[in-house]
């Protein structure tokens, strides 16, 4: 390729300018709309057809080497089952038809995630596709993100997790003690064009995954046809996990 000095300088200049603008745009985060924002819709009623089912939890824990720590106080959770009372703390579903149904909880992959805002090392950050990702090798274990997350979606390894992994998945890293972890919407599968493990494993197809920025996606069609809620929307975090009522 023939490139004159002048042309080279011009291209370098524009590239640098472009990179700088992207950085600036990224700094403003959610004020610029993304092309892709992965999201999840949870169909509470479909899920409740099998009250004892833990398929999504099992497959997630297995795929990501999530330890099953027996001490509840040191539990590590990526996706878990809870009551509507806990899931929608501050809302009143006492007399609603979902009052007694289980609700699957996970990281909300917020539009403006407080955990990312407070992390002193950028060990957790928001990817361009909207996923709130984590670098377990950079995390210093200060747990500031856990104080900041209003959904308790983050877990800390209070002890060495490895003894509590029954059969380790060699394809995925295990963690060390002293770092925080959480659901990553299966970034490792998304990069291969696959859906998250929990979505694939659900026998009732109660989890719908997709790009919420794409008006023609399945998740958007579902959201436009069904009533839904998000968790604590008043905090301005912009959760991307939607609960179909």
């Amino acid at each position: 390729m023939n490139l004159s000095r002048k042309a080279f300088l011009r291209v370098s200049c524009f590239s640098l300018l472009g990179a700088a603008m992207r950085k600036t745009a990224a700094a403003f985060g959610s004020t610029f709309s993304r092309k892709v924002q992965w999201g999840m819709a949870v169909d509470i009623r479909k899920c409740a057809r099998r009250p004892e089912c833990t398929a999504c939890i099992d497959v997630c824990d297995q795929a990501h080497n999530v330890p099953r720590v027996p001490d509840k106080r040191h539990e590590v959770r990526w996706i878990w089952k809870d009551t509507p009372e806990h899931a929608f703390e501050g809302e009143d579903f006492r007399y609603s038809s979902i009052a007694k149904l289980p609700v699957m909880l996970m990281c909300n992959h917020c539009d403006d995630p407080p955990c990312v805002r407070v992390c002193p090392t950028q060990a957790t950050w928001k990817r361009e596709d909207g996923i709130v990702a984590m670098d377990w090798h950079r995390c210093i274990g200060c747990r500031y993100c856990m104080a900041a997350c209003p959904y308790e979606s983050r877990s800390f390894n209070w002890v060495d997790p490895r003894p509590y992994i029954k059969t380790a998945n060699p394809e995925f890293p295990t963690r060390t003690k002293g770092v925080v972890e959480k659901c990553t919407f299966c970034v490792e599968r998304i990069s291969q064009g696959r859906e998250p493990a929990c979505v694939e494993a659900c026998p009732e197809k109660a989890l719908i995954f997709g790009n919420v920025m794409d008006a023609n996606s399945e998740i958007r069609r579902m959201l436009s046809s069904r009533d839904h809620v998000t968790r604590k929307p008043e905090l301005g975090t912009g959760p991307n996990v939607f609960y179909l009522l």
């Binding site: 806990h86 002193p120 747990r143 800390f156 390894n157 002293g178 905090l235």
Partner: protein
């Protein structure tokens, strides 16, 4: 060179005291090694209460560190001569307290070996980054100031001209360290107890009460150890500062009570219920918090009534009470109750474990050790620590 040699000679009781401190530090260190090996699961912390004694103690001692400004400011900005002999004690107290703060943060980290990641990936939108910057800066400022003024005093000369601007810088810096520390908490969604604009003012008020109260006790202690006159006039002036700060602090806490309890908004009311009456049968903090309230009330009586405040027997008691009351309030209650109830509405329990308490004791030991060395140097240079100004 750094005057450390002055701390290497001392009486039997001096060495006995240092030996006790060394033993406390060593015990804490041994348990810290165990924590390093086992993980933070060795503490009472858990998935709901993720910060406890370490971070709470850190918060309290940032206040003690910031309080040096309460003697530095009157002396350097208002030429308040009675504090001439006290400022150096305040600055050394600040150094010891900031060192303790850094150790508390370090003890709380899951991966302490990665601490430098904070500098390697400076993150301007993280308040923890700014807290690190402000604390490190404050430590440096006070170390430089204390060393420069003390060497000048030993040499019988005036401090170099560049010292004054550094001292002036340390005044707003002291305010900043506690403001930024309040910002660690006051900007988090989903933690309603902390989500209040009054938190930083409250931190400053409690700091300016607890720190100077400790300074009065330290002055009295130094006077007793050196068998010299206590600086009565300076102590009385500091007592007035403690009084105003404590009144402001109690006032701000009452403001919090009013908003939380009168509005009745559950997320604002519940942490206070947990602290003072117990929530859903969980009431571990209740005896502590009531102790803090009662002590605060007693201290206000002792401080506000001039007859009591000027009574040399009652004043140390009042200062001790202020210190303990605020230590409970900020060094335990505020941080732990911030996690109760959890964002999911669960009421968790947190009880510090023995290793955790011993590690905290070890860090206290380090603080006292540093303070003793520094004050020993001051006494060595100045056999009558408070003579010259404002004698009895």
């Amino acid at each position: 060179m750094f005057l450390v040699e002055k701390a290497l000679t001392g009486s039997k009781s001096y060495w006995r005291w240092m030996l006790i401190l060394a033993a406390v530090i060593a015990t804490g260190f041994v348990f810290y090694l165990r924590q390093l090996d086992y993980g933070l699961g060795i503490t009472g912390l858990n998935r709901d209460v993720t910060w406890g004694l370490y971070i709470a103690q850190f918060t309290f001692f940032v206040g003690v560190a910031a309080s040096a400004v309460m003697v530095v400011l009157p002396y350097y900005l208002h030429n308040f001569k009675v504090f001439a002999k006290i400022t150096i004690l305040g600055e050394f107290l600040a150094i010891a307290a900031v060192t303790m703060c850094m150790l508390f943060i370090f003890a709380d980290m899951g991966q302490p070996a990665r601490v430098l990641n904070v500098l390697l990936y400076p993150t301007l939108h993280s308040m923890m980054f700014w807290d690190m910057v402000s604390l490190a800066g404050y430590l440096l400022l006070n170390a430089v100031i204390a060393w420069a003024t003390l060497t000048a005093e030993r040499n019988g000369t005036a401090p170099a001209r560049w010292v004054k601007p550094v001292i002036l810088l340390s005044i707003p810096w002291a305010v900043s360290i506690h403001t930024v520390t309040a910002f660690l908490y006051a900007g988090l969604p989903g933690r309603p107890l902390w989500l209040t604009a009054v938190l930083a003012p409250r931190f400053l008020a409690s700091a300016f009460a607890s720190g100077p109260a400790l300074l009065i006790l330290l002055c009295l202690l130094i006077a007793r150890v050196t068998k010299t006159q206590a600086p009565r006039e300076s102590i009385q002036k500091i007592a007035v500062i403690v009084t105003y700060a404590m009144v402001a602090n109690v006032f701000l806490i009452l403001m919090e009570f009013f908003t939380a309890l009168y509005s009745g908004v559950p997320e604002h009311r519940e942490p206070f219920q947990y602290m003072f009456t117990g929530l859903e049968g969980h009431a571990r903090l209740t005896p502590w918090m009531w102790t803090s309230v009662i002590l605060a009330a007693i201290s206000l009586v002792l401080l506000i009534v001039p007859r009591y405040r000027t009574n040399p027997r009652l004043l140390p008691i009042a200062c001790g009470i202020v210190f303990v009351s605020l230590w409970i309030d900020k060094g335990i209650g505020l941080i732990v109750a911030g996690f109760v109830p959890s964002p999911l509405g669960v009421v968790p329990d947190y009880v510090p474990t023995l290793p955790e308490v011993l590690i905290v004791a070890g860090i206290w030991g380090v603080g006292m050790f540093i303070l003793t060395v520094f004050y020993k140097i001051v006494i060595a240079i100045r056999p009558e620590p408070f003579a010259g100004h404002a004698g009895a």
